[in-house]
Symmetry: C3
Subunit: 153 residues, 3 copies
């Protein structure tokens, strides 16, 4: 279980960092929940502060928009993902998992900065051999979120 | 063994990053050694250059002081912890383990910088099902240490 | 297999970060391939853009040069290495593996910045109990590469 979660996150990150965004929705279940918010908003009960999608199709639409905007032409990303912690109380659907992440951004001039850090709060579903994200709440540490945040985290 | 060390570090980091500092002393044995120093000092044989505590109670006192000072109101932290390396020569008490870490700091304005990096040098004790830190030397790469370093690393 | 790859990368990183550079060539096979390039060059089919070595002896020579130049007197490094992804198509020699990395640099004044990030693209050979790097392509995200890049990554 633990090893497969680690693998899931490594593949998830590589799809973004290698600019294979079209693969990214495939890590989610058909009906899913992908939300991005800040830590402050999350604690105030606003988990969908910045981005909200509840089907895999919505995620695919998001990728299409990004391709049109050519965001990936001008910069690239590098994820560092920590070890998953399986939380004591599972959901109806499957285990709840919390995982730290940090994302670096490398701009066209070659400068690297820390783009975002925070925690993934996931609900995991197992479909045969595959593990999929039923829910991924991306809770960002920083309250100052870049306007480019339409990018997958 | 290896998996449990990874889990220990993930839980340890989460207690700090989630601002559950009161849980932090619980990762150590009753009589323990928690020391923070710089790499330069460590090589000169000064492992207790900056912070020294040798009981779990001292660690709890440290947390109380931090709460009074409200340090966590103004910033947050994000650990990235590498894979533990079990060193060839164990101690009398249990295995010696070395593990890289990097800690990001996110300030109230939302700016993120690298707060500290370095290596944990641990002696691990196993108590029934639990793994505890008998010793944790936090050896920081940088010689310039922030005055806020009373914070757990 | 997966656990041993993780261990290999942890030991590899520690040899550099602990300034035990003389141990570094020992992670490669006698005849090997160590190349450093940028992501842009790699995509253009130029995997040897910056550094090229094809024997363990060449790597040892590189370390000797670094010692003469005293580069490690003035700064230190800290690797953060992600989880290895075993790629679907193996090579003749052994499995192909892709692994994210980020390297921090700490200068003498104690300032830390992100020195490099990118991906290791490896071919792994197993010799008895040991796993060795038959090939390691270091593909850096940034096109702006520091002139000190003779340093192992």
């Amino acid at each position: 279980m633990h090893d497969r979660l680690i693998q899931l996150n490594a593949e998830y990150a590589a799809s973004i960092d290698d600019d294979r965004l079209e693969d990214w929705p495939g890590f989610f279940t058909e009906n899913c929940l992908y939300r991005v918010t800040t830590r402050d908003n999350y604690r105030r009960g606003m988990p969908a502060g910045l981005i909200y999608a509840d089907t895999r199709d919505m995620l695919a639409d998001r990728v299409l928009s990004l391709r049109k905007a050519n965001v990936y032409e001008t910069q690239s990303y590098r994820h560092v993902i920590g070890m998953p912690r399986i939380l004591p109380a599972p959901s109806d659907r499957g285990p709840k998992v919390a995982t730290s992440f940090v994302v670096m951004r490398i701009n066209r001039q070659g400068h690297t900065d820390i783009f975002a850090s925070g925690e993934y709060l996931d609900i995991i579903e197992t479909h045969g051999d595959a593990m999929l994200l039923r829910e991924r709440d991306v809770v960002c540490d920083s309250s100052r979120i870049d306007t480019l945040l339409a990018l997958p985290l």
